[in-house]
């Protein structure tokens, strides 16, 4: 535990949460000239950012604001990675670890007629929005992925899907922010708001109290992932963010046999659904270290991290449906995390309508890694008064589909 005495920090913006979204927001703000303090009750990437696969996807998003954000992110990632490489010497001997940004592409595979027609329709809806999606038959799919089952009814290749190492990316964004003057306080848990009374117009949020001291700031951005609900409630304006558990299997290192992200066509349906029961939808991919990752499950079990063997069974069965040749591959570990979602299943990025000074950057569900740079850019644009690249209203906490769920701010 840190041993520095309690301090009082002053900043333009305090970001609560040192996961990838908080890190991206912090870096975008310092690049824009703001003084930033980041606080996290644990360590950087200690929450959801350390529990995912590193997905940068357009393939799973139908036309709409989230797809637009994802497309913006796909544009931003290569330039961002190049900047971080120049600043931190990522991937060089003795330098920062490599972000492992790999534009490997994705292949969505339907093994049933019903799945195929749904997939075809989905891709057809995505193309007008600018998504590159190429239909393939079984032999075309197996030319890309020789290990794939022959029972392919239809496959769609999405060349713009990519992979990144999420913890390295988080740490690199923070390191870059620190180099530009940001202060990152880990082990600093938010315990309450700093408030300013504004005459007759009520209070405004003027910073946070933490276990490592106070941070006074003109704006507080809550980027605490599934704990954003808790934090925003502490600050006086709760946002209805709930956790959705996900588990991933990791195999031992294998000869390279899966070359892209490969998903069962059911992946698309699982993301937006609200069912409480266990849902699994297959995603299989290799990592730079040679292991194979197999996801993904979705359960609403609060923050219960207990192991459930049924989840492992379903993930394994799903993987073997797509890649029957993997039956002998040992799983050496499983890990899990909690995705943050809000009732209307869209990220929240922007000011809170109830409490001046409070901002949100959360609710990305399973897409937070990929969407982080676009979120950071949007929040920074809005905070610093620049025209945003995205439709800010769609991500605002005041949007009609979310506003109905907001409880009024405490006086």
């Amino acid at each position: 535990m840190p041993v520095t005495p309690l301090q009082r920090h002053t900043a333009d913006v305090v970001v609560v949460g040192a996961g990838i979204v908080g890190a991206a927001v912090a870096r975008a703000l310092v690049v824009g000239g703001a003084r930033v303090v980041v606080v996290d009750r644990r360590e950087a990437a200690g929450g959801t950012s350390g529990s995912g696969e590193g997905n940068l996807l357009v393939s799973d998003k139908g036309p709409g604001p989230e797809l637009a954000m994802a497309q913006r992110a796909v544009q931003l990632w290569p330039a961002l990675t190049a900047e971080l490489h120049d600043e931190l010497r990522t991937g060089l001997p003795g330098g920062f670890p490599d972000l492992e940004l790999e534009p490997k592409g994705g292949l969505v595979v339907a093994t049933t007629a019903a799945g195929a027609s749904a997939l075809r329709a989905f891709a057809a809806a995505q193309r007008p929005a600018g998504v590159r999606a190429t239909e393939l038959d079984a032999s075309g799919a197996r030319a890309l992925e020789p290990g794939l089952t022959p029972d392919v009814a239809l496959a769609v290749h999405y060349p713009d899907d990519a992979q990144v190492q999420p913890v390295v990316a988080t740490e690199a964004l923070l390191a870059s922010a620190r180099r530009r003057g940001a202060v990152v306080l880990t082990g600093a848990e938010v315990t309450g708001p700093l408030s300013l009374r504004r005459g007759s117009s009520g209070t405004r949020l003027a910073g946070v109290r933490t276990t490592r001291g106070e941070v006074a700031a003109d704006a507080v951005v809550v980027a605490a992932g599934p704990w954003s609900g808790e934090v925003s409630a502490l600050l006086g304006a709760p946002l209805p963010v709930l956790p959705r558990r996900g588990v991933i299997l990791v195999t031992t290192r294998q000869p390279h046999q899966v070359f892209r992200k490969v998903y069962d066509a059911d992946y698309v349906g699982a993301v937006g659904s609200g069912d409480a029961d266990l849902q699994t939808s297959t995603v299989v991919e290799s990592t730079a270290s040679g292991t194979i990752l197999i996801g993904s499950s979705r359960e609403r079990v609060g923050f219960d991290a207990a192991l459930r063997v049924e989840v492992l069974r379903r993930l394994a069965a799903g993987a073997l449906t797509l890649f029957p040749g993997l039956a002998g591959v040992p799983v050496m570990r499983s890990y899990g995390g909690f995705r943050p979602y809000v009732p209307d299943h869209l990220p929240v990025a922007g000011p809170d309508p109830r409490l001046p000074g409070l901002w949100h950057a959360t609710g990305h569900e399973g897409a937070g890694i990929g969407l982080a740079p676009a979120t950071g850019e949007l929040v920074a644009d809005l905070l610093l008064g620049r025209p945003p690249a995205l439709d800010a209203a769609a991500f605002s906490a005041a949007r009609p589909s979310l506003a109905a769920h907001l409880v009024g701010a405490a006086a």
Partner: protein, 120 residues
Amino acid sequence: MSAKRIDPARDVARTATAEPVTITVDGESVTGVRGQSIAGVVMAAGGSASTGGALRRTAGAGSPRGVFCGIGVCFDCLVTVDGVRDVRACQRRAVEGAVVTTQAEGLPTRVERGEGEHRA
């Protein structure tokens, strides 16, 4: 490796002589005694020519590895047995005729963006 089975004449435990067991390691015949693990058979025979005595080559640096913990917790001794990968040689009994191959898979190469093509 210079591991050595005890000379039965000097064995204070007076262990019975066991029948031989022959396996192949990377195509070469290697003989030990019944009851031994694959690791024990390979160690006593000095390993195989292709591996220079190692049971495995690491993925990153290609460094040779042999037995380390001997009790199945370090996973350094993983070999392929009869086509099945990732078998701990120190735990798997050597069975007559078993086909053992050492593993040296290397790291994956990046897949670059490209329509309809892949690189192995």
